[in-house]
């Protein structure tokens, strides 16, 4: 395990327009650690997720984040006409893993293994060949989680992952998170929705510090 934190922010302030949304915030996550960001609606949880993912700029403060980030958004978009299998294949083609070494065959084999692993871990094997548009909301949430997990990111951000998950889905999520030894996990959820079991470190946005 690396000694350096995977995700670290200090005195991080986030704004939307001229209005401050959250901060100052401090957090540090090492590989294999899991953190939970909780707070009431409108407390800036989603803004924080977007800032960590590099999709918006922080107003001030220091933010250190890894290059490879997996994001499980709260309201995911999917290409509904594609099958999970075909979609994941293309996502793996986008990169996100270290492709600097190894032959083409090795890369291809590794991609296939990763794809099978993701489908297996989130119980998607039976529906892998069906178009995503035909899947129920629960299945799509599993797909959403698998998509974030795919390609082994250094940091996995889950935005309200419990949404629409049945007990089997929650079990799959718990198992998947347990298997991530090299990945830091940041879960974002409103207070009191049952995600506390998933992450021991809690950042309360009203307090702003772990």
């Amino acid at each position: 395990m690396s000694a350096n934190p995977i995700l670290q922010f200090e005195q991080l302030v986030l704004s939307r327009g001229k209005q401050r949304v959250a901060g100052p915030l401090d957090l540090s996550l090492m590989a294999g650690e899991r953190g939970l960001v909780s707070g009431a609606n409108g407390s800036g949880k989603t803004t924080l997720v977007l800032a960590i993912a590099g999709l918006i700029k922080p107003t001030s403060g220091r933010l250190e984040r890894p290059a490879r980030i997996g994001l499980v958004p709260q309201e995911p978009d999917f290409p509904l006409h594609l099958s999970c299998h075909s979609y994941f294949q293309q996502l793996l083609g986008l990169g996100g893993r270290d492709h600097s070494s190894g032959s083409t065959t090795n890369k291809s084999t590794s991609s296939n293994q990763q794809l099978s692993q993701a489908l297996q871990l989130f119980g998607l094997e039976d529906v892998a060949k069906r178009p995503i548009g035909e899947l129920s909301r629960g299945w799509r949430q599993r797909l959403n989680l698998a998509r974030g997990w795919l390609s082994e990111p250094s940091l996995l951000i889950l935005d309200e992952p419990q949404t629409a998950l049945d007990p089997d889905g929650m079990a799959a999520l718990t198992a998947a998170l347990a298997s991530l030894r090299q990945t830091a996990v940041l879960i974002v959820a409103p207070a009191g929705v049952g995600c506390q079991n998933l992450a021991p470190l809690v950042l309360d946005l009203s307090g702003g510090r772990v």
Binding site: I56, P73, F78, P79, Q89, L91, G96
Partner: protein, 343 residues
């Protein structure tokens, strides 16, 4: 990358794409070359096949927009640190599909019993100005393909019956003999081909007149064996347009279907060849603006030429114009691959 290219190509084709392409190619071959039904025109076949590229442009815009709605930009931002994989894959997929369609267009020519056109010539009326008895000026309306000739019917009836073979010269001093009772062939020099204008002088006092309504330009008409090269030229024309579409949709962040329309409009303008008379005539503001826009673009209309009069433009595109056009395409592709900073 392979999966990205294949995935995008599959989305482009949809469920019926290949079937429709096959049907379209075979129909085009029948309409163009069938012994009873066809109009025996290679240009016509080329026109039908080039529609494939136009359809792909619009389809590409549509698929890009659908991907945008399906959350691809977020995934690209998270997974591809450099941002070039997806645009390159999209470009490659479209380019390969275009090339595939063009290559598939060769299949019916080898498999169906068709009457394929061989090398031939095509004739075009030529505007002739008689500046005085000593100078005939012929306007050829822009660059002319190499190997072209001017065909003149000369009236000798006012001349001396004893002189039935006389030299006719151009302003550079080159001369060819004209014979009474035969069409006079004037092979165009490289300078005349480029200028699209020929100025000829009959011997002084010979009394020769040219029958103006019968002046014609003879252009070599490529045979079917040149189809692959002609389709290659079409590909060179359409690839920069494709790159521009990606640049507009990705770097410009505009609606991808609107980008496809914009690129289609630009392609139409580039492929358009305004008749030179348009420049002389008193034009409306609209036509003048079109002319100005057209002149600002590389003159590569010869690459996209098709239809029954396609031979008139084949081979008239200069190498610098092609290089400039491809450079614009490369620039557009680089822009498409350039990721803009988050807002």
């Amino acid at each position: 990358m392979k999966f990205l290219v294949l995935g995008f190509a599959r989305e482009m084709l949809g469920r019926w794409g290949l079937l429709l392409l096959t049907a379209a190619i075979f129909t085009a071959a029948q309409l163009s070359f069938d012994a009873q039904l066809g109009d025996a025109s290679l240009g016509s076949y080329l026109a039908y096949i080039s529609l494939w590229a136009v359809v792909l442009l619009f389809r590409c815009g549509w698929v890009l927009q659908r991907r945008r709605a399906a959350g691809w930009p977020l995934e690209e931002q998270l997974r591809d640190p450099h941002g070039y994989r997806a645009p390159l894959a999209e470009f490659l997929a479209c380019a390969l599909l275009m090339a595939f369609g063009f290559l598939a267009a060769l299949v019916p020519l080898g498999t169906l019993p068709l009457e394929l056109p061989q090398d031939d010539v095509a004739l075009y009326p030529v505007r002739c100005q008689i500046e005085n008895d000593q100078t005939w000026v012929f306007e050829l309306e822009g660059r002319v393909p190499s190997g072209s000739e001017l065909l003149l019917t000369i009236d000798w009836s006012a001349g001396s019956p004893a002189k039935q073979e006389l030299p006719i010269t151009n302003h550079a001093g080159n001369a060819h003999n004209a014979t009474a009772g035969e069409i006079f062939h004037w092979p165009l020099s490289p300078a005349e081909l480029a200028a699209g204008r020929v100025s000829l002088s009959p011997p002084m006092g010979a009394g020769l007149r040219v029958f103006q309504p019968l002046a014609r330009l003879q252009v070599p008409r490529p045979g079917v064996h040149l189809l692959l090269r002609l389709l290659g030229a079409q590909l060179l024309f359409f690839l920069p347009l494709l790159a521009l579409l990606l640049a507009l949709a990705r770097f410009g962040r505009i609606h991808a279907s609107l980008a496809a329309w914009a690129v289609f409009c630009l392609g139409s303008l580039v492929a358009y060849r305004p008749p030179p008379r348009l420049a002389d005539a008193g034009l409306g503001l609209l036509a003048k603006t079109v002319l100005l826009c057209k002149q600002a673009l590389p003159a590569v209309e010869g690459l996209a030429t098709s239809g029954h009069r396609f031979e008139r433009l084949v081979g008239t595109t200069t190498l610098p114009a092609i290089a400039l056009w491809l450079m614009l395409g490369t620039l557009a592709l680089l822009l498409a691959c350039k990721r803009r900073k988050p807002r």
